[in-house]
Assembly symmetry: C2
């Protein structure tokens, strides 16, 4: 529970002694003003005479000075740093999300502290660690979070946003694809294709994305008078999908169409079907994924899938972050961004001749 402060690395020496990092004192001396004036020169709203400003800035340029943000944060209680906790970085979708976040945050002149957290407990550790470093906000991607961590963040007034994950705690801001609606759309598509025996290859069992996609899928199947899907476990991974499809197809009552919880597991399922089982897609089995990663469009896969609007989701997250950082007491913000069915060739569109 306690932070490992007693680690050996603490014996490491600090920065080289002779290193000359200019401070406001030096600039003040060179410009012939007081330290507070230098500070004012670097504080946008401050009242300062234009000439003085110019003189200070010239001195600052000469010494290539800029205020030490860490010292500044000691007083301002802002670090201009956002913490990013990534749950499942092996999925290309989240890799693009990560890039989206870092590049856009940079553009807003915010620093990014990255942590990877394989499971929900390490999310707690990560958040705690980020809070110690006084980040101004935390984004948690594709992973849940313990209410303990939420509480600690709330106590110090640091907003948390969940990206593509929901938790029971309804007091949390979040941005996600409308996974349930995505699942429903897939049910409709497969129904149009004339399929009746359907299956779903689960992602991670506890992920809300997985649960919601399945819930929407099953719900809509029910409305259409179709039986609930067969279930298998694919762990959101290529290997998982490839194994899962074999278990499904070699079981008693093989499905006619399979909905995979994400694209990567769908690629695994696709390869399992054609290379391991010698079946054709979509002639023998229809297959649908979720995410629309770039590879899904490659001819080798040509995967019908539900697109998550990555850019839109990232933008929504950053906009929400802005609002929450301005006012930590604001009620939680929630975005459910509709996915978009991308029809390619891996699923039959009409009943077989």
């Amino acid at each position: 529970m306690t932070a490992p402060l007693d680690d050996a690395s603490r014996t490491r020496p600090g920065r080289k002694a002779g290193a000359a990092v200019p401070n406001s004192d030096a600039v003040a001396r060179l410009a012939g003003v007081s330290r507070s004036t230098v500070s004012r020169a670097f504080t946008p709203g401050a009242s300062i005479a234009p000439v003085t400003l110019e003189r200070v800035m010239a001195a600052a340029r000469e010494l290539s000075y800029s205020p030490n943000p860490l010292a500044r944060s000691l007083i301002s209680r802002r670090t201009d740093t956002v913490g990013l906790v990534m749950g499942h970085p092996e999925n290309p979708f989240y890799q693009e999300v990560l890039t989206g976040f870092t590049s856009r945050l940079q553009r807003r002149d915010l620093r990014v502290m990255c942590q990877t957290a394989p499971d929900i407990e390490s999310v707690e550790d990560s958040v705690r660690s980020l809070l110690r470093y006084n980040v101004d906000a935390v984004i948690v991607t594709s992973s849940g979070i313990t209410s303990a961590a939420v509480g600690e963040a709330h106590a110090v007034g640091v907003p948390i946003i969940l990206f593509n994950r929901t938790v029971e705690d309804d007091a949390l801001s979040r941005v996600q694809t409308d996974n349930r609606r995505g699942g429903r759309a897939v049910a409709d598509l497969l129904n149009h294709g004339g399929h009746r025996r359907l299956a779903y290859i689960n992602g991670l069992e506890n992920a809300s994305t997985n649960r919601d996609r399945l819930a929407g899928f099953t719900e809509r199947l029910g409305e259409l008078g179709l039986p609930p899907p067969l279930l298998e476990y694919g762990e959101y991974s290529y290997e998982g999908g490839r194994e899962a499809i074999k278990r499904l197809m070699l079981g008693g009552d093989p499905p006619e169409a399979v909905f995979c919880a994400n694209d990567i597991s769908a690629f695994g399922a696709l390869d399992g079907l054609r290379y391991d089982l010698g079946l054709r897609v979509p002639d023998d089995v229809s297959l649908v994924g979720f995410d629309d990663v770039p590879m899904a469009a490659w001819p080798c896969f040509d995967l019908t899938t539900v697109r998550q609007r990555r850019n839109q989701m990232v933008e929504a997250t950053l906009d929400s972050l802005d609002l929450l950082m301005r006012d930590p007491d604001r009620p939680p913000i929630r975005h459910d961004i509709p996915g978009r069915l991308i029809v390619r060739r891996s699923a039959r569109l009409a009943p077989a001749g």
Copy 2:
């Protein structure tokens, strides 16, 4: 050039006022000791009586106090934070590298500040920004760096390590695959396959990885008495590879075998060959990539390639970092880790019947 300090975000308020972050003063009072004793309790080597230590720690636990690392860094001149500048995050290989770095740095109790930098100028901006935040070291992945940035880092004693990139400045530490040797190995392989008209699909023209792979390839071809390869430009991307192969094959003297600067462009070339041009691999053309990303093993690609030993490279980088952080004046450390030829089915192994 100057940092955009005058941005609007500075008007954003700091952390919630009521937020109670305990400080050493509070702990000192509760434990009935002085503030310096509290400090000592959290400083591993410090001389402190076991009973006092216990009492302080109990008080700290009660207030859930831990020292503010930012305030601490003001004096110690260490932030326990490493800057990571990523050049081309769209390549899955570097996405895995990124994950490797963040998870391993976390394990060493170091924070990671991430920046993405599309070009060499933005690397300079990124490094400067990281230096302002007093990172203890900087890792630059898959991108070059300006000597200005190197100079600034050196001036403040912050080590920089280049990951998979070389620059003229020989005073820089770096870790990379022995790209030249990798290129030579591919030349040998294709020669064994009986190919004589060869081509190389370039990655990014200025990337040292690209130059070295090509140099090794060409060099070894020369030694084997083969003509230098035809050249095309694939930009290290799927689309680039797919277009490049078309230009090559539809040109006057189509090659018998093609070496692609990385796996992703090789996938593009492969799809171009079979889906756009109707050719078979390796029957009509042999194809080799570089990286050995997980997808290369998927049956759909089954790509012969040169494996970069990602984990080993990441470990070597972190070990070097450790040494350099301990002694910034230490001479540059260089690792050239041999790649490994992974033979799959995309390249012929013996001359055609």
